[in-house]
């Protein structure tokens, strides 16, 4: 994003994201406690994640698998040999007062992901965003403060270690992002990827996906970066975009008025839609990293790597490309349909069962999505299986039923499933495409409304809709609308 100013200096923002992504393992990264969200405080804990004396960590192998798969999906180099390190700092939510993390040998490095940006006219811009690294680490617990929302000023604070030791993958981007929109789209794409892999549920409200943003601005053309500010506390993609947009404006305004930008951490306040200063960084913290002696180095053999690579699903970017090129879907439709892997796979199964791609896409994006929202079901859980939807679409295509009838029987199919063909047959809802039957129905209607026929013929052509409605009413909506319209028009003209 560039911001024009009265002095005509053009600024550009330089943005990078650090994303903490909780991995979807059943148990914690180094111990057996459950990772379930929402338990009562300190229920999902054990001597290891609580940092009792004498305990030792053992790496959950599923964590390594997820980390490698995410790394591969982000086009990273996977380290054949990496290790864990201790990152040391004191805080009550960190039971050992060091975090087991990865410092100089992360599991994945030097990757990229492609974001697809759509403007209002539906034009696509694609941009590659570099991934510096991804590394495994353990999450900290949570503090609940009494009398303040922060530690300072509270009368006491309680520690909940349910979250302590949940596996995290920290994914660091290159400072390749230039706007709030790009950053939000980057985060969305990251979420899609981890969800496609089943590596994380990416739930921002529950904190399983947390983005910290670094933003600086500089005059366009200047090579060196401006002073970087870190923003935290955004719990939606929109919040990421708005926080960055606010911050860019704030920094540009500050520079324009001759203020110095402080290297600091700022909090996004959702209510007031602004960032506020949280703490100023005086030099960089010294975490006194050193190799974790309780864990052996991590080795990923070429065979193992190949195995995990072969297990990767088709990823969102590849799906989008295929939908646009092979299915002829629009960029917008493609984005909507590929956002969730289950929805995309549902669509693909529907097409595989013989349905027309465009029709299937419309049904999935329209009525099916509406039903999912209303019923709060996952697409995999609804009774309308892809084959059923394909059959329904086929009934419309071959003119057995009209689209209107299809919509009428859809609720029952969504709730109970079953064969659409049998359903319309049992209800006598098949479409009337017989010219003779339609003609006789029209004749009856015209005979019963001579005055309206007269009005039509004297120029009130809008009345065709009235006659159409009457025919449909008479045939319980079963008359082929296209055919009915043609015959009706002919007969009305006399």
């Amino acid at each position: 994003m560039t911001v024009a100013t009265p002095t005509k200096t053009q600024y550009e923002a330089v943005i990078g994201l650090e994303t903490h992504c909780q991995l979807s393992t059943e148990s914690k990264i180094f111990s057996a406690s459950s990772t379930a969200f929402g338990a009562d405080p300190n229920q999902n804990i054990d001597p290891i994640c609580a940092g009792l004396p004498g305990v030792l960590p053992v790496l959950n192998q599923k964590v390594l698998e997820y980390a490698v798969k995410v790394g591969l999906a982000l086009n990273c180099e996977i380290a054949p040999y990496s290790k864990f390190d201790r990152k040391q700092y004191f805080y009550p939510d960190l039971p050992k007062n060091y975090q087991i993390s990865q410092y100089d040998l992360p599991i994945a490095q030097n990757g990229w992901l492609e974001v697809e940006l759509l403007d209002e006219e539906g034009n696509i811009t694609r941009k590659r965003i570099g991934i510096t690294r991804a590394h495994m680490e353990e999450d900290a617990g949570k503090l609940v403060h009494a009398g303040s929302d922060r530690l300072s000023g509270s009368t006491y604070s309680l520690v909940d270690l349910n979250r302590a030791g949940i596996a995290l993958l920290e994914i660091v981007s290159e400072p390749d992002l230039r706007s709030g929109q790009e950053a939000a789209e980057y985060a969305r794409e990251l979420r899609r990827i981890v969800r496609y892999l089943g590596a994380s549920d990416g739930n921002m409200q529950e904190g399983s996906l947390r983005c910290d943003v670094n933003v600086s601005v500089r005059p366009v053309g200047q090579a060196e970066f401006g002073t970087k500010v870190e923003i935290k506390n955004m719990n939606s993609f929109n919040a990421i975009q708005r926080a960055i947009e606010f911050e860019i404006e704030r920094q540009v305004a500050a520079i324009e008025t001759g203020e110095t930008i402080l290297q600091e951490t700022r909090l996004w306040e959702e209510n007031s839609q602004r960032t506020i200063s949280m703490r100023t960084k005086e030099g960089s913290s010294d975490y006194r990293y050193f190799p974790e002696p309780d864990l052996t180095p991590i080795e990923v053999s070429p065979e193992q790597l190949k195995q995990w690579e072969s297990e990767l699903p088709e990823l969102p970017a590849a799906k989008r490309k295929r939908y646009e090129e092979e299915l002829g879907l629009s960029a917008y439709d493609t984005q909507v349909l590929t956002d969730d892997r289950d929805v995309a796979e549902y669509l693909e199964a529907t097409i595989a069962a013989g349905a027309d791609a465009k029709q299937a896409a419309n049904w999935v994006m329209g009525d099916v999505t509406a039903y999912l929202k209303e019923s709060k079901l996952d697409i995999g859980a609804i009774a309308l299986k892809p084959a059923i939807l394909a059959e329904l679409i086929d009934l419309i295509e071959n003119k057995t039923i009209s689209g209107k009838i299809a919509k009428e029987i859809l609720p029952e199919l969504l709730e109970k499933g079953g064969s659409p063909k049998k359903l319309v047959e049992s209800k006598g809802m098949t479409q009337i495409s017989d010219t003779g039957a339609i003609e006789s129905a029209i004749d009856e209607i015209l005979a019963a409304n001579p005055d309206k026929v007269e009005q039509f013929r004297s120029g009130k052509t809008k009345l065709q809709g009235f006659f159409m409605g009457q025919v449909m009413k008479k045939t319980q909506g079963r008359a082929d609308p296209k055919l009915t319209n043609q015959i009706l028009a002919k007969k009305l003209q006399g």
Binding site: P95, N97, D286, R288
Partner: protein, 485 residues
């Protein structure tokens, strides 16, 4: 106290019940320990309960294992479920672990009677057991002298016949040096042979649990019971554990030609002449037993001590960060805020040696110093390992004194930390290289204080070390001597 083999014979022949043995042990502790002060806690009731179960088994005609009914003492940095585990520190004075260390699980499964928890230098940092926050343990051979450390309590109670065997932990010599000073057998196994799960960490890459015993045979039986792969310890080795006990033979003759290397750098300046002489005499005995003895140079040996005092405190500074007053253990009541609580809890909870090492470690890992200290020390560690590798191309076992001196007087070195550190000069390089080594009695000085000889083996050569030590022990009178209390 009789050996495990003898006690086992008595138990199986019903000459004595396990309960009787336990009660005798408890009586002996009650009589003797006020002088020795080796135990921090005695678990009398639990021990008798356990002994009765062994007796029931014997009465039912079931076979019992070697350790069943045998009283054993546990260094108080090894977690025992439901029993306080203090690490000799005020900061953990009221800490009761909810879980057992893997070695405790193994001992309980083997039917051993856990008789009590023994004194140690706070968090196993020290060479005299004077750094305990609770009491000073005396050397049973001379109550004015230290038992060595940090497993001084375990060494002293075995030497004083207060129990048959004991577990210690060894980070830089903490089993071998007190074994030497108390005239008992002490063994540090290969790093990874015994699970560290439940051993309160001092320096994770160096710590190992091992046995202290009156004889090599008893040490072998105990080692066999506690060794083995543990999925809870990522650094534990996946290796078959041989029967160390069964392999012991009264002499070396049937064995292939044994080559022993004497480490040149461990003799001379700073080493008591009596210690030097005793070890040289021991080598003569070994030669008579059929070993070929040659002098071996390990030039990096002397860099072990400075490297250790970077690596161990660095790891300790992180390992001990968890004692902050938040979750368990001591917490001061008069703190103004969080930082103040951290500072006051740690200032009052830790003793001065622990603080000294935390400060050294914190400094060594700080930005700008890491390369010069921690990284350099790790390189030294690699050189030491390579030196040992070279030596083991020529010999099967390396021999040197365990400690440069016999037991020193309590208070003699407390004001001189560096002088105290020199006690571990001979043992530290072994931990840095992850090798197995044992200390066994090889004589007495003119004051009647025991002298220990250290035998170092290559990785996983515990069996060979025990065989050689056993043969030496059978050929010499030292193990039969016990202090008069």
């Amino acid at each position: 106290m009789a050996s495990i083999r003898e006690l086992h014979r008595q138990l199986t022949n019903k000459e004595r019940s396990a309960e009787e043995l336990t009660r005798e042990t408890l009586d002996r502790i009650e009589t003797i320990d006020p002088q020795v002060r080796g135990f921090l806690q005695v678990m009398a009731d639990a021990a008798i309960d356990r002994a009765r179960r062994v007796d029931a088994k014997i009465a039912a005609g079931e076979a019992i294992g070697h350790l069943e009914g045998i009283p054993i003492a546990i260094k108080d940095n090894i977690c025992t479920a439901g029993v306080p585990t203090t690490c000799g520190s005020k900061i953990l004075e009221n800490f009761v672990p909810p879980y057992n260390a893997t070695v405790i699980e193994k001992l309980e499964a083997a039917g051993a009677i856990l008789i009590g928890k023994t004194n140690l230098d706070e968090f196993a940092m020290g060479s005299s057991t004077e750094n305990s926050a609770f009491q000073v343990t005396a050397n049973p051979w001379d109550l004015d002298r230290v038992p060595g450390g940090s497993s001084g309590g375990s060494a002293a109670v075995v030497a004083a016949n207060e129990c048959t065997v004991a577990l210690g932990s060894d980070t830089g010599g903490s089993i071998r040096q007190p074994a030497s000073l108390c005239g008992v057998v002490g063994m540090k196994p290969t790093y990874g042979l015994v699970s560290r799960y439940g051993l309160v960490a001092y320096a994770s890459s160096l710590d190992q649990i091992g046995p202290l015993a009156g004889t090599v045979e008893d040490a072998a039986i105990l080692l066999e019971a506690i060794a083995g792969y543990d999925p809870k310890d990522s650094t534990s080795l996946k290796t078959e554990i041989p029967s160390y006990y069964k392999a012991l033979k009264p002499n070396l003759k049937p064995k292939r030609h044994l080559r022993i290397g004497v480490i040149q750098e461990t003799f001379g300046q700073g080493v008591d002449p009596a210690v030097e002489q005793a070890v040289k005499d021991a080598l003569t005995v070994l030669q008579e037993l059929g070993a070929e003895v040659q002098v071996i140079s390990c030039p990096t040996f002397r860099y072990g001590l400075p490297a250790y005092y970077i690596i161990a405190p660095s790891e300790a500074s992180a390992n001990l960060a968890r004692y902050d007053g938040v979750k368990y253990g001591m917490r001061v009541e008069d703190a103004e805020n969080l930082i103040d609580m951290y500072a006051k809890t740690r200032a009052r909870g830790f003793g001065s040696e622990v603080k000294r090492r935390i400060v050294i470690g914190t400094y060594a890992l700080s930005a700008g110093y890491y390369d010069a200290y921690y990284l350099k020390a790790q390189k030294v560690r690699t050189l030491i390992r390579q030196d040992f590798d070279r030596a083991f191309n020529h010999v099967d076992i390396l021999v040197c004194p365990t400690s440069p001196t016999t037991a020193f007087k309590a208070g003699e070195k407390t004001a001189d930390p560096l002088g105290m550190y020199l006690s571990d000069l001979m043992t530290i390089p072994v931990n840095l290289a992850g090798l197995p080594a044992l200390s066994l009695p090889c004589g007495f000085d003119e004051g009647g204080l025991p002298i220990g000889m250290q035998a170092i083996g290559n990785v996983l050569q515990e069996q060979l070390l025990l065989e050689v030590a056993h043969a030496y022990e059978q050929a010499t009178p030292w193990s039969q001597k016990r202090p008069k209390l």
